[in-house]
């Protein structure tokens, strides 16, 4: 290989950045014309290859997005013509080509339709016909502009696994004849829920990395937040979109306070609140207000955001409005009963009405099947036992919690708790 000239290197870096900015819009615009994500992505990739060949020599065009769109749309028309010779009916193809030609004007391709196209792509990539894993991978690929390698690295799985997952997802969409559309009516609610779920899954994978040495992978949190913020601009009237954004903004505000100097986890109530990101809290509270103004205070994400906001508003852990927290968990539990919510509610009850009240609730959860291997159950139980002075029992619970978590940093924290209990037991 020949060495790249400095100008060519610069062009390559610019192209990479432009791709990150433009790829989702590009794929969305193409998917509208050709009808499927797989073909749209291939056409977009072809345009990218053309840019990589031409721009280092000719320079980056003034409107790179329009250039890429124009190049890809020309190829799309060629493709549709070739398809015409295959099985499909003439008049149908005629319409497709007309549609493609309509948007061939790069200027027109960048105007008011862009929002709807992007939404169409989001709804398609997050279609409920796909498994959660497939939706996540496809969303990061076509909306985040991440490469298969980057997604694999983020989820600590082999590249081939992600590649397979994406290929299969595209095939499933085609086989299920999923249309490129912005769903309306009752279907919209279910489809939107699927979109929000995917974004929150991405966020959570970054926020509480389920495996590996890192406690958080901020890049995934940032990507989820970016997608959420974009969605909130595209769908301004759906309360839950703002609820989810509020939840992510406020949780992200604590990212840098959650990790100690040697990479260990710091639990929310032990965090140095001066390290919480005030800007993100402010943005989160504003988004929550928007959700509430739209009548969505009782939506699942808005409720969770309200819980997060309760922490964010308190200047010290002791200042937290725990009775309100219990009420909010009551509302969440009513909406979506789950043992994990009950566990969180027990923590709030323990803070509001004393550790004995909390422990009584946790003891009722011990036999819940989904919690039997959930490390936070013994962790919470250990915490309440410790507050009640039952150090030996507390230590056993922390040790059990440590053995259940897959996360190295979290395990260290739990082992430290167990050791502290031993010391307290001896002192007492």
């Amino acid at each position: 290989m020949t060495e790249l000239s400095p100008a060519a290197t610069e062009a390559h870096r610019a192209i990479e950045a432009i791709w990150r900015i433009e790829s989702a819009r590009l794929i969305a615009g193409l998917a509208r014309v050709v009808g499927d994500i797989g073909t749209a992505e291939e056409l977009a990739q072809d345009a990218l290859v053309a840019a990589l060949e031409q721009w280092p020599i000719s320079g980056v065009p003034e409107k790179p997005g329009a250039w890429l769109m124009g190049t890809a749309k020309h190829r799309a028309i060629d493709l549709l013509r070739r398809r015409q010779t295959l099985e499909r009916k003439h008049e149908e193809i005629g319409r497709d080509i007309e549609r493609a030609q309509e948007v061939i004007d790069p200027e027109a391709a960048m105007d008011e339709d862009v929002g709807d196209e992007l939404l169409g792509l989001i709804f398609m990539a997050c279609h409920p016909v796909l498994s959660k894993d497939a939706r996540v991978a496809l969303t990061l690929r076509v909306l985040g502009g991440l490469t298969t390698e980057e997604i694999a690295r983020a989820f600590l799985v082999p590249v081939s696994t992600i590649a397979q997952r994406i290929v299969r997802a595209k095939r499933t969409l085609t086989e299920a004849r999923v249309r490129f559309e912005v769903p309306a009516g009752p279907e919209r609610v279910a489809r939107l829920a699927s979109v929000l779920e995917v974004i929150y899954l991405i966020f959570n994978e970054g926020y509480s990395a389920t495996a590996g040495d890192d406690l958080v992978r901020p890049a995934l949190c940032e990507e989820a937040l970016r997608l959420g913020r974009i969605l909130a601009e595209l769908i301004t009237t759906e309360a839950e979109v703002h609820g989810l954004v509020a939840l992510m903004e406020i949780q992200a505000s604590r990212l840098r306070a959650r990790i100690g100097p040697s990479g260990e986890a710091i639990l929310l109530l032990d965090q140095n609140r001066s390290r919480w990101d005030r800007l993100l809290i402010r943005r989160g509270l504003a988004a929550l207000e928007r959700a509430e103004r739209l009548g969505g205070a009782m939506g699942p994400y808005a409720l969770q955001a309200a819980i997060a906001a309760c922490h964010a508003r308190a200047s010290t852990a002791a200042d937290t409005d725990w009775p309100r927290m219990v009420a909010l968990y009551d509302a969440v539990a009513e909406l979506a009963p789950s043992p994990v919510i009950e566990l969180n509610r027990a923590v709030a009850v323990g803070m509001a009405f004393g550790p004995a009240a909390g422990l009584a609730l946790v003891d009722g959860l011990v036999s819940e099947p989904p919690l039997s291997t959930y490390h936070l159950l013994p962790a919470v139980r250990g915490d309440l036992l410790r507050k009640l002075g039952r150090s030996a029992e507390a230590r056993a619970e922390f040790e059990r919690a440590a053995s259940l978590t897959q996360n190295v940093a979290e395990r260290k924290l739990l082992q430290r708790r167990a050791a502290e209990c031993t010391a307290e037991g001896m002192a007492g």
């Binding site: 990479e16 950045a17 900015i21 901020p218 970016r226 601009e233 990790i259």
Partner: protein
Amino acid sequence: MRVLVLAKEDHQSQAAKPPTPEMMAEFQTFNEELVKAGVVIGDGRLYPSSQGKRMRFDGKKRTVIDGPFAETKELVAGYWLWQVRSIDEALEWLKRSPFDAGTYEIRQIMEFEGM
């Protein structure tokens, strides 16, 4: 990553030409595009330095200096806080701005110190 984009304006031109309505409209359009792309997370415009103050530290001594700060060639007139995935992405966005004068500086903000 987060970057701070500092709008630096030449001291004289800042006073000499206030932005025209057309320029303001173009700027608005650009800013909206950035917001829609999830890039802008904060912004602000500053009053002229004539209303600003400076404090100089020298050991225990504090000296307050009143604006305008005429000796400086370029003054910060506004700022943006952007969430981007690379400095190159920030550069690409900035290239698309409608500005026809001044200097804009992109600086990465330190995050996750200790990691």
